[in-house]
């Protein structure tokens, strides 16, 4: 507890207007704590005022919409009022009707299935890659080579999804570099960017291209935190390269791996949004409709607000349950998890 010593309070607060007794002896320099709320307010109001604008923005653009999810239980009709609030008050409550319609909608289940398949696929084919890259980079002795590779592979993280998809189109797409070369070699290019069957591979490849290097940073940090003496001791005991990897490196990485795994599982219903919106037309809805795009196309494009809100709420609630469960399991396994039990 490095609570700020009460100097400011003592200086700022005039003693006169305080009805509460001041348990304060003038002999001791600065008595801390045990102040009345008023005194603390008087001391801390600038801090509150500083946090207020950001808190207000979050209130308006985060918490109010969160509460606004109750329109999932309404037959929300934007035309019964002048503005959304008016319309909300005027719309009819229909209980779980939207959810019934949603759960009966085969398109919704298609979207859920696509989302979960992509999550599972990426868990297997994307999640381990940054760990491997970190191990690889860590084993490169030359600092210059390592620095150069790092600078290059981190870069795509700073590109927008529009750019990432664009680079893929221009390199692998039907009019892209690869197709040109294939045609010149007399081969038939295949439609990587438009083939629904391989779409899952494509989106994973894009995600890898964008975030492989970035994802490795946190593992590199964890690797550098491993005590080198452990390696030396293991080597002295005759552990070879792979045994050291297994008995020293991986246990050192485990907390980070578990943390990221939990976060990924908690996010199982989100696989990225812009990436799919951008490519949904190219490969078709069957392959590219995920929960987020479903919400967009069902709600905003076709104005079925209640249904869209119901799908969004479903996703948020399931996501919350998932992350709390995953974290609980992690605690049970003795890991630290995302947040500690306060």
């Amino acid at each position: 507890m490095s609570a700020p010593p009460g100097t400011a309070g003592a200086v700022d607060a005039p003693a006169g207007d305080r009805p509460a007794p001041r348990p304060r002896t003038t002999a001791r320099p600065v008595p801390r704590r045990r102040r009345t709320l008023r005194a603390r307010l008087r001391r801390d109001w600038p801090l509150l005022a500083m946090a207020a604008p950001a808190a207000t923005l979050l209130l308006v653009f985060h918490y109010v919409p969160t509460l606004g999810n109750v329109i999932a239980f309404q037959d929300y009709n934007p035309f019964v009022g002048d503005d959304p609030l008016d319309a909300f008050l005027g719309s009819e409550w229909i209980g779980v009707g939207n959810f019934e319609a949603l759960f009966r909608d085969p398109l919704f289940w298609d979207a859920v299935r696509n989302t979960l398949s992509i999550t599972a696929f990426q868990l297997v084919f994307f999640f381990p890659l940054p760990i491997m890259l970190a191990l690889l980079l860590n084993s490169v002795v030359s600092g210059r080579v390592r620095g150069f590779v790092q600078s290059v592979v981190y870069l795509p993280h700073f590109f927008s999804w529009v750019l990432v998809v664009t680079f893929f189109v221009q390199t692998l797409g039907g009019a892209g570099l690869l197709a040109q070369e294939l045609r010149q070699a007399g081969l038939q290019p295949w439609g990587v960017m438009t083939n629904p069957d391989t779409f899952i591979v494509l989106v994973t490849a894009e995600a890898v291209w964008k975030d492989l290097g970035w994802g490795a940073i946190v593992f590199l940090a964890a690797l550098s935190a491993i005590d080198p003496n452990l390696y030396e001791a293991a080597a002295a005991d005759g552990a070879g390269r792979w045994r050291r990897l297994w008995h020293v490196t991986l246990p050192g990485l485990r907390p980070v791996i578990v943390l990221l795994l939990i976060m990924r599982l908690g996010d199982a219903l989100s696989v990225g949004f812009e990436q799919f919106i951008l490519q949904r037309d190219a490969v078709g809805r069957d392959a590219a409709e995920v929960l987020d795009t479903f919400v967009y196309y069902q709600a905003i494009a076709t104005q079925q607000w209640g249904l869209g809100a119901a799908a969004g709420l479903f996703k948020a609630v399931v996501g919350l349950i998932l992350i709390l469960t995953a974290n609980h399991v992690a605690h049970r396994l003795g890991e630290q998890g995302v947040y500690s039990r306060a």
Partner: protein
């Protein structure tokens, strides 16, 4: 030192210790095959990132003849023909979009940084009034999300539709960034703050005179992250912006390249003055890509210098 004979010049081939290597003595010397494999993997990774960037850049500077000869994307630069860039910057939708994106990025970064720094400072003093509650209020946003539909309704309900503020305000506060900055603020030695307070400085003065100068690096990095975020944002423009003259660059790029690829996309193709005449369409398109990439590439070295140094790990420690 001087008595040591210089190390024998290594014969070509597998030398046991390459130069004055950082490799610890207990570690086995790398096998040539392993080294080769590593080299190949790293080279492929680097190529996978750089080749797409390279071909886009070269094509944007290529003349019609070069593009025709290559059959599309160009890999080997033949000449430097800036006409594509002249075209897109001679007015028209791309110029306008670059302007809009610049305004949104500058304005948004300013707003975000100001509010985030203030809030981070307001939350940096454990034991202050409502500190725990307020912190919880901010952190709770990590766990619960509003969802698309209600957010859309709130933004439109506030009358922000088709205003560039709809590209700024809803995403102005990143609590993650706030936590990062707060962690740095909390590391500022309390003695400094106390002495300033004894000298009569108020909180705002302490923030601007003492805490901020000590945290310049982290604030700069967070600012750059915000800037990249604003520059890269695409979908909120699809949601909220209706008029073509308020489209940010990402939206225009999308309608150019991806809509060109898939005719179903509802966005209408952008009309570019003068395209019919000179620079080949492909070069113009690639020039737009380059213009969209450039800010990220410029900003990148500044961010990179710092982010491995604890910005990320500091945040993880929270």
């Amino acid at each position: 030192m001087t008595t040591y004979a210089p190390p024998p010049v290594p014969a070509p081939g597998p030398s046991r210790r390459r130069r004055r290597s950082d490799r610890p003595v207990w570690e086995e010397p790398p096998s040539p095959l392993g080294l080769f494999g590593k080299g190949v993997v790293l080279a492929l990774l680097v190529a996978a990132v750089l080749v797409p960037l390279w071909t886009v850049l070269v094509t944007s500077l290529a003349s019609r003849a070069t593009i025709d000869e290559a059959g599309g994307m160009v890999l080997v630069p033949r000449e430097i023909d800036p006409s594509a860039y002249l075209t897109i910057f001679s007015g028209g939708d791309v110029t306008q979009a670059v302007w809009i994106s610049t305004v949104v990025t500058v304005l948004g970064t300013g707003v975000s940084l100001l509010l985030t720094v203030l809030a981070a400072y307001g939350l940096s003093r454990p034991g202050s009034v409502a500190h725990r509650g307020l912190l919880f209020y901010f952190l709770l946003t990590f766990l619960i999300f509003p969802g698309l539909v209600p957010s859309y309704l709130v933004v439109t309900g506030l009358g922000l539709k088709d205003s560039i503020w709809s590209l700024i305000l809803p995403s102005a506060i990143s609590v993650f960034n706030l936590v990062v900055i707060r962690a740095f603020f909390m590391n500022v030695p309390g003695e400094l703050i106390d002495s300033a307070r004894i000298d009569g400085a108020g909180e705002l003065r302490i923030l601007t005179r003492i805490v901020l100068p000590l945290s310049r690096a982290v604030v700069a990095v967070v600012g750059l992250f915000y800037a990249v975020g604003y520059w890269n944002a695409y979908f909120n423009a699809v949601l909220y912006i209706d008029s073509n003259d308020k489209f940010p660059i990402q939206r225009v790029l999308q309608s150019y390249i991806l809509a060109g690829q898939s005719p179903n996309v509802s966005g209408t193709p952008v009309n570019l003055p003068g395209v019919t005449a000179y620079p080949p369409t492909l070069a113009v398109k690639m020039a737009v890509v380059v213009v969209t990439v450039v800010p990220a590439v410029i900003v990148y070295p500044f961010v990179q210098r710092h982010f491995t140094k604890g910005v990320i790990t500091g945040a993880v420690k929270g």
